[in-house]
């Protein structure tokens, strides 16, 4: 498990959005080989969707060859109802991007035969080659999708009755009238999400802190269904400071301390790349460097591309985005505390383009 802790909700959303963006780009989806993405709804991923829309608008990413599978949908709620998950996804995501409507899959809560609908959904996922990355949230009771406490950890897509906690939590979207909240939903199973190649869980806010604690510091337990992902080979929990409030200090320090310079250098060719590593060693110690916020800098090398992830709060350092063209006024900025950057530039020209010449050496 990776636990990525950001200072606040906005930064956590930005981190997650960048991660999703970069993975899609790295995958290089085509018409024959789409990137399958599992998607959540709710207030937690809202800002993440906003960021993804921003990246689409600025031309960083296209969703043309992305297939999406949403986690859940209410039963019996008209599709055009403003609180249906179809409406949520349309208004907050699909209408702003270039996704092909034929690639969008959301469970139909008004189907004649709900069980057949669930089975068909599983079949569609299998047909699409499985889910590449499933993004999800967590309920205050530790549920993933609508897999309420007590759900089987190997469950598949099915109809679920909602727990009281969930109905109460959702009442705010229905004018605080409990009777208006649907009591049943179709949901992907824990097993369905576990089948994904990678799982990213977004957890923000103090009200989710206890659930996060149960999910990662206690055992695998069907009462806290998110805990099942302890047994998934590739899970990332992205959270803000508030969500870590119930965790042990030791756990938090450990994961913040792994501001690992995770460098993936597949196909590195020395003849056409320049590798620059700047580490701030000036007036702060290494410990301080890693202390305040967690960083995870990854570098992905693609041909003719400079991709740098700055996956944590940078403080006053630069945010290098995918085109690799920002360079925040020279080395000094980069030298600011808590910032570690790795560049990998494919050719000297791009190095010059990003203003290498203007950079001053470390003072």
């Amino acid at each position: 498990m990776r636990l990525v802790i950001l200072d606040d909700y906005d930064l956590a959303s930005e981190w997650a959005a960048k991660y999703i963006r970069n993975r899609i780009i790295q995958f290089k989806p085509t018409a024959e080989r789409c990137f399958t993405l599992g998607l959540p709804t709710g207030s937690t991923p809202y800002s993440c969707y906003q960021k993804l829309i921003e990246y689409y608008r600025s031309g960083d990413i296209s969703f043309k060859y992305v297939k999406t599978f949403n986690m859940d949908e209410y039963v019996g709620l008209p599709r055009a109802h403003p609180e249906s998950y179809h409406s949520y996804m349309w208004n907050n995501f699909f209408k702003h991007i270039d996704i092909d409507p034929a690639n969008v899959h959301i469970l139909d809560g008004n189907a004649e035969d709900l069980e057949a609908e669930c089975q068909a959904y599983e079949d569609k996922i299998a047909e699409a080659g499985g889910i590449e990355m499933f993004v999800g949230g967590i309920g205050p009771d530790g549920h993933i999708a609508f897999n309420e406490p007590g759900s089987s950890l190997v469950s598949r897509t099915r109809v679920k009755t909602l727990a009281k906690d969930t109905i109460v939590a959702n009442a705010r979207f229905f004018g605080n009238d409990l009777s208006k909240v649907p009591s049943m939903a179709l949901t992907v199973g824990v097993g369905t999400v576990m089948n994904a190649k990678e799982v990213v869980i977004l957890i923000t806010g103090a009200h989710k802190a206890f659930a996060l604690y149960k999910a990662i510091e206690e055992g695998v337990n069907h009462m806290w269904t998110v805990s099942a992902f302890q047994q998934h080979p590739r899970t990332i929990f992205v959270c803000d400071e508030d969500a870590t409030l119930e965790l042990r200090v030791k756990t938090v320090k450990y994961f913040k301390g792994t501001s690992v310079l995770a460098v993936l250098l597949p196909g590195l060719s020395l003849s056409n790349c320049i590798l620059c590593v700047c580490v701030c060693v000036l007036d702060i110690s290494l410990q301080q460097l890693f202390q305040s916020t967690s960083h995870l800098i990854g570098v992905l090398m693609g041909t003719k591309r400079c991709v740098v992830w700055n996956l944590g709060k940078v403080g006053t350092g630069p945010t290098l985005d995918i085109k690799g063209v920002c360079m925040n006024k020279g080395w000094r900025c980069i030298m600011r505390p808590a910032c570690v950057c790795i560049w990998q530039l494919i050719d000297c020209r791009s190095l010059l383009d990003v203003g290498y010449n203007k950079a001053k050496p470390c003072a």
Binding site: R79, A80, H86, S87, W90, N91, F94, K95, D98, D100, P101, A102, V104, I106
Partner: protein, 382 residues
């Protein structure tokens, strides 16, 4: 996005980068149009898995429903009250010209005229949809001759009439036929008018009160019988008096049946009504305000002597528009409220399923383009 002709034969147009008037607010939303109607894009996305064939970039303009003018006596040299041989040509000319003012539907208005004129003109004007040829005709507005002599305004006195014993029969004798008539203005204090109001409403004709010296209770009685409009508020009626507000009192009358709105036309040129009076009316009853031009044949023509029906009048100077409310309210007064008055649910709004009669405006509400049924019918020259 590749072209989507497989989903439907009719092309789908998406207007992007605009602020549309919906729900009484200007919202940053795209507007989708197919086959002359406004489309629900969410349904298109999920049900049909469709997307747009063309995208029109509105460059941040305001998009409002096309304007509807329920009182326009003519323009550009055409006088609707003139008994010419080819009235429809005149109507067509005006309907084409008003596109450049953003008017997509209108009611050609006839002032008080002799029966012969009505019998000649009315059969020649038909309700029809708008298009590239011009704005749509929603029906005639017959202002008079059953109005008060004391408040005739610019109408010729010798052709005023009253209801004799027959009531509606007198009206039919005057007009000849009520086909293609959308609205009739009359004075409710005339004896026998109440039954006429009732009968007209029963036949689906909107009844308006105007050119009248009625007091408030006479006006309220007419509203009870179904009257729903006031022709150019303040003009050609008794002034507001605190012990008998007259027709003006309808704006805040508690005798208006619940669920019904009394609309009132305003000529907001700053000349017919003092802007302060306009604001009083607007603040008292904002949902009823309907902007009208009451334009005459001289509109669009240079100054000089012109005819208005049977009268001759002098034209001098220009008119000016007066603002006094929010942009959204002003736009609704010119589009939504007239549509509500005439009970046209598919016009005057940008809801899904409504007719795609649109205007594109800049922030100062200058017109940039006019669309009828989704087709661009006028564009401002760059």
């Amino acid at each position: 996005m590749p072209s989507n002709k497989s989903v439907s034969d009719a092309p789908i147009t998406q207007f992007v980068n605009c602020r549309i008037l919906r729900g009484s607010r200007l919202q940053r939303e795209d507007l989708w149009v197919r086959s002359g109607s406004i489309l629900d894009p969410e349904k298109l996305f999920f049900d049909e898995q469709g997307y747009a064939d063309d995208r029109v970039d509105c460059e941040g303009s305001i998009m409002a429903p096309g304007f509807i003018d329920v009182q326009i006596n003519g323009g550009y040299g055409v006088d609707f009250s003139e008994a010419s041989e080819d009235v429809s040509a005149g109507v067509s000319l005006v309907s084409k010209k008003i596109l450049q003012h953003g008017v997509t539907s209108f009611c050609p208005t006839l002032v008080t005229s002799p029966a012969a004129v009505y019998h000649k003109v009315l059969p020649q004007v038909k309700v029809h949809d708008g298009g590239a040829h011009g704005a749509g005709v929603l029906g005639l507005h017959l202002e008079g001759p059953f109005i008060s002599a004391e408040k005739k305004g610019a109408h010729p006195e010798r052709f005023l009439r009253t209801f004799q014993a027959g009531g509606i029969d007198d009206l039919m004798a005057a007009y000849g036929s009520l086909d293609n008539v959308a609205m009739v203005t009359l004075a409710p204090e005339l004896a026998g008018s109440q039954s006429v109001v009732r009968e007209l409403c029963r036949r689906g004709v909107t009844v308006s009160l105007g050119h009248s010296v009625a007091n408030l209770s006479q006006a309220e009685e007419a509203v009870d019988q179904g009257a729903s409009f006031i022709t150019h508020l303040f003009n050609a009626m008794l002034p507001f008096h605190h012990r008998d507000p007259g027709i003006v009192g309808l704006l805040t009358s508690d005798r208006v049946p619940s669920g019904r709105t009394v609309f009132y036309g305003m000529i907001a040129d700053g000349i017919h009504t003092n802007p302060a009076a306009l604001r009083i009316a607007h603040r008292a009853h904002p949902e009823g305000l309907v902007l009208v031009t009451d334009a005459i044949m001289a509109m669009g023509l240079p100054p000089g002597r012109r005819t208005l029906g049977q009268q001759v009048i002098e034209i001098q100077g220009l008119h000016a528009y007066v603002a006094g409310c929010s942009v959204e309210e002003a736009l609704e007064a010119a589009s939504l409220h007239p549509a509500q008055l005439l009970r046209l649910h598919h016009k005057g709004n940008l809801d899904y399923g409504s007719d795609a009669d649109l205007v594109l405006l800049d922030d100062d509400l200058n017109l940039k383009a006019t669309f009828i049924s989704g087709e661009e019918v006028w564009k401002k020259a760059p």
